[in-house]
Structure formats: C-alpha cells, structure tokens
Symmetry: C2
Subunit: 156 residues, 2 copies
DNA sequence: TCCCAAATAATAATTATTATCATTTAGGAT
DNA sequence: ATCCTAAATGATAATAATTATTATTTGGGA
C-alpha cells in the first residue's frame, strides 16, 4: 500500500511525519490543491509544521515524479498525487480537476511537433472552465454584472 | 495597418505613446517576451516609462485579446501579439516560441471534453523544450553535471 | 482652448516562492 | 539500545513577479 515509503527511502530520502502528512492530504483530495491549501490542512493536523517544509517537500515530490504540478493561468500552482501521465479539466472556481482520459500529443499533433526540431521536455494541455456545480452557482450570483473587467478569464 | 489604434479607441481607450511603444515592441519580436524584457526595451526607447505601465497595459491588451499570455513552467509569464488562436513550442532557454499549426481541441479530444459537462472557458496546449540552437548550446556547456537537482525541468 | 476621465510615474504593498541558518531528527553503524 | 551524522525541519529573511495606491499628467472630445 504505502509504496511511496519505498519510493522515498529507496532513493535515500527519510520518512518524516511531515512527508507522511503532506502525502496523506494529497491522497485524500480529489482536487488539485495549492501549496497554501496544503499548508493549511497540514497545520490542522500538526500546527508546528512550517509552510517552508510544505514547499520543500512538494518540490521534492515533483522532482521524484510522485506529485504533479499544474500551472493554472491566473492563480498559484496546484499539486496532486501523480497518477501517471494525464491532462485535466480544471475548475477555475473550486480547483476541481477532472482527468481527461486522452493525450493530445499523438497522431498528427505529434508528427507536426517532431518536424519542428525542438528537443521536447514536456507538454501541458489544460482546459480551464467551470465544473457543473460552480457553473450553476455562477449563474445565480449577481457578481457577474459585467463592465470592463469581464470575467477575469483570458482565452488565448 | 494600425488596426490596433481602432481596437483601442473604439472601446474608449486612449492612444498613448506608452501603448504605442509596447505594441511596437511586441510587433517587432518573434519571441514571447517577459514583462521585464518588454520593460527594458521600453526604457531603451523612452526611459521615463514605468514598469507598472508596462504591466498595466499588458493586462489591458490581454483582456482585449490583442495580446496573449503564455505561462511557462518555472519562469515568468510571457507575452506576444495575438495572432488568432494558436499553440506553441516554447524554448525554455531563450523564450523562442514556434507556432504549432494545429489545435488539439478537436475530434476525439473535443468529444471527450464535451462529455464532462464542464463549461469550458479556454484551453492551453504548451510544449516546452529547447529550440535547435539552445539545444546545441546545452550539449556543450558543462553546467549540466547532474546530481540531485536534475535539470529543473519537470515532466508531468 | 478647456476640461476631466483616463492614464501615467513612482513607489509601496502583496503574493508566491525560495534561501538561510540554527536546531532537530531519522535511521544506519556500533 | 545508543551514538552519530547527513538530512530535514522551523522560523524567518529574502527574492521575484505582480498589483495597488496616489499624486500628477494628458489624450481627445465639448
């Protein structure tokens, strides 16, 4: 079950209560969490844990490919337990991230990419929007009056 | 030619020298520039222009969809003149951005997305790597010794 | 030319994240 | 079981990127 214990200790990293807690939180979440959200949940369990430790370990876990990072436009980076290579639909309101069971880096797209001569390191396909629930909430709220600001959402 | 003058004044925004210069810089660049890079070039032309003005106007231009924003992992946001909807291969070293003449949001991918019930606002497909030139430079440089840190590049 | 909302310059403030460093601790060696 | 040391941590300072504030200036219509 706790395969992550092996992944860490196999590479010489120590099993600390802090890491245990951070991974537990990620494991219990069905959303992508920001470092701050993780920090808050960590502090609920053990208030003495520092936010710096949260950042440090998130970076380590990303490096070890045990956690993946999602860089949402207009907002801090979010994290989730790494479950293989996949892409997401991310709710801009609540952060819910639904896995998309398909990768665009294939077929025609892949061929065109190969032609460019780039040395490809990674790719990211993110779909931003509102999940059904947040979409409904939005309809009802009067905060969307309009005017110059728009929705704050930029669409490339 | 200066269709952007109309785009701005049509919506009640003023044509200021600052905006003229920022757009000119974006227009003359074949790369995605960071706000700081734009700020530097702006100051070369007219040193009295403030970086805050650069940020303010970039945000405005993004909002008006005249400029698009590219959020590279591990690095500040980059900007380019908006030339319709497209995706890029971005060099993590020099920032060069090669347009990819194809969009993954179609066919099977689109179908699957539609099934999720998300209200989709936007999507981003970014391919990160090294352009041919930077890729070669990298080979030669000794900075890549290795050790724990790796390349700093995370690959989801 | 006059006027004023819009824009600007300068700078303070904020947000997200990383670096520093003194202290603690996990876990292998004894 | 105890000792030891590199690794990890907590606290906090520092940094980077960006946004907010505010007094001043200005584009462009009346």
């Amino acid at each position: 079950m706790s395969t992550w214990v092996e992944k860490l200790s196999a590479r010489g990293y120590k099993i600390t209560p802090q890491r245990r807690i951070i991974l537990e939180i990620l494991d219990n979440s069905d959303r992508h969490l920001t470092a701050e959200e993780i920090g808050l949940q960590v502090k609920e369990i053990e208030p003495s844990i520092s936010l710096a430790t949260v950042y440090r370990n998130l970076n380590l876990l990303v490096e070890l490919q045990m956690v993946s990072r999602l860089n949402i436009h207009d907002g801090p980076v979010r994290y989730e337990l790494h479950g293989g290579h996949n892409h997401h639909l991310v709710c801009m309101n609540c952060g819910a991230a639904v896995k998309l069971g398909v990768c665009p880096m294939q077929g025609e797209v892949k061929r065109i990419v190969d032609e460019t001569g780039f040395e490809v390191s990674s790719h990211h396909f993110e779909i931003l929007g509102y999940c059904r629930e947040c979409s409904l909430k939005k309809e009802l709220s009067p905060t969307s009056a309009g005017a110059k600001g728009g929705t704050g959402v930029d669409q490339e």
